[in-house]
């Protein structure tokens, strides 16, 4: 095995090692895991107990918190009593004239310290107005001097928490599947243009490994869904469309195996592969974007873009895709080499397939 011809296999393994180590060992940014009660009653001393995630409330020297009603009505906490590194009681003086007239107001809780940076409780709080007479006017403070989290850290997202690391495996394997299927498609077209047995073998090999990737993509998605959505399978459009796409590719293998005549079989397989690929594009790329979905990026859910798929995630996500593509090319080349060996012993195989399969 010479390095010159096999460097990409080594690269694939090294990239996967990089993804596993950096992807698993990089800490998450600090966030707000939960509060004792999201509904607050306005009083002179309204206390909310906050549970932080990856936070350093006890070590931080500049711990501050705010309750934000809108951009001009921000109340700073009057006292924060830290219990431990992830627990703190935050007291607000809410006996002030709150904006608007409604009895209950939504508010956003923001915590900031110099070690963890700022974090926002995404679910928001609900404040019930105090209808007492003679309230003090609200003195709004500004949020201009918030700290940014230091160091190489993955973004903290509510509900997802550490499972944001699944992006490197679940999302990356779908991306890798797309590229491998495209290679299979190109070889199928090449077979139809110029019927050479090798093209058929390569197309089959790439389609086989991308089907394996597709099934893995569904299975990893099921595990991820179990712990972020609560069930292995939901009626999410993207899930069902992905399952249909995978089933179409299953049909490719079943139908291909059912045709005896080799020439006919290869031509049929090449044509079906083009059909399957063309069916997959709307199933995976277009329909899920039109419908409501629990997936990020559709139905009003934030996508893993901009702030979310931030540069720290990208630095692991792209190597993960490249690693899985190279691994797929490697496995597909093994499958092609088996075909070539079978060609060499075609007569014996014919006899054996009669007995074995």
């Amino acid at each position: 095995m010479s390095i010159k011809n096999n460097w990409w296999k080594i690269l694939s393994v090294l990239l996967m090692l990089y993804v596993l180590t950096v992807g698993m060992l990089t800490p998450m940014k600090s966030g707000i895991y939960g509060v004792d009660s999201i509904s607050l009653k306005a009083s002179e001393n309204t206390v909310v107990r906050v549970e932080g995630y990856n936070s350093n409330y006890d070590k931080a020297t500049d711990l501050r918190a705010w309750l934000k009603f809108d951009s001009t009505h921000i109340i700073k906490a009057k006292r924060i009593s830290v219990i431990d590194y992830k627990m703190a009681d935050i007291a607000f003086d809410l006996n002030v004239t709150l904006p608007g007239t409604s009895e209950v107001l939504p508010a956003t809780l923001i915590i900031d310290n110099e070690m963890d940076g700022y974090s926002i409780f995404p679910e928001g709080l609900v404040v019930t107005r105090n209808k007492m007479e003679g309230l003090k006017p609200l003195v709004s403070s500004s949020l201009n001097d918030l700290h940014q989290a230091k160091g190489f850290k993955f973004p903290y997202m509510n509900i997802l928490h550490e499972t944001i690391r699944n992006t490197f495996f679940h999302v990356a394997i779908w991306m890798a599947m797309f590229l491998l299927m495209t290679i299979g498609l190109i070889y199928s077209i090449m077979y139809l243009v110029k019927p050479t047995l090798k093209y058929d073998h390569v197309a089959y090999s790439y389609t086989a490994i991308s089907l394996v990737y597709g099934v893995i993509g569904l299975a990893t998605g099921a595990v991820w869904a179990r712990f972020s959505w609560g069930a292995y399978w939901t009626n999410d459009v993207r899930l069902n469309m992905a399952a249909v796409a995978v089933l179409i590719y299953f049909a490719y293998f079943i139908l291909r195996g059912s045709i005896e005549d080799q020439d006919k079989r290869n031509r049929f397989a090449a044509a079906f592969n083009i059909f399957a690929y063309l069916a997959m594009i709307p199933l995976l790329l277009i329909i899920p974007r039109l419908a409501d979905s629990l997936h990020p990026g559709v139905g009003g859910n934030p996508a893993f873009s901009g702030e979310d798929l931030d540069n720290t995630l990208r630095m692991v996500f792209y190597p993960a895709i490249i690693s899985l593509i190279l691994l797929g090319v490697w496995i597909a080349s093994l499958r092609t080499r088996i075909f070539q060996l079978e060609e060499k012993h075609i007569d014996k195989i014919n006899k054996a397939s009669f007995l074995v399969e």
């Binding site: 596993l20 550490e162 499972t163 014996k348 195989i349």
Partner: protein, 80 residues
């Protein structure tokens, strides 16, 4: 022919074994998930990530086993 059939049986047994192993691994994982939801969800659901990596690994290994089987077939034919 007798030999061939034996090999065939062996492969069926092998794939059965790996399927059963995968099934038990999944049931074990699921039972942890059911009984001790706190465990999988502890430390920010990091064990859900472990589960995803295991599924990915098992999926690729499953296909490698199938390739292994095909190569074994070729070797057996070659020897005759």
């Amino acid at each position: 022919m007798r030999k061939k059939l034996d090999f065939r049986w062996q492969y069926i047994r092998m794939s059965k074994k790996s399927f059963l192993f995968a099934l038990f691994a999944f049931l074990y994982y699921d039972s942890i998930a059911q009984a001790g939801d706190d465990f999988i969800r502890s430390t920010g659901k990091i064990y859900a990530v472990v589960g995803v990596i295991l599924v990915l690994f098992l999926g690729i290994v499953f296909y490698l086993f199938r390739l292994d089987k095909k190569i074994k077939n070729l070797e057996n034919n070659h020897d005759e």
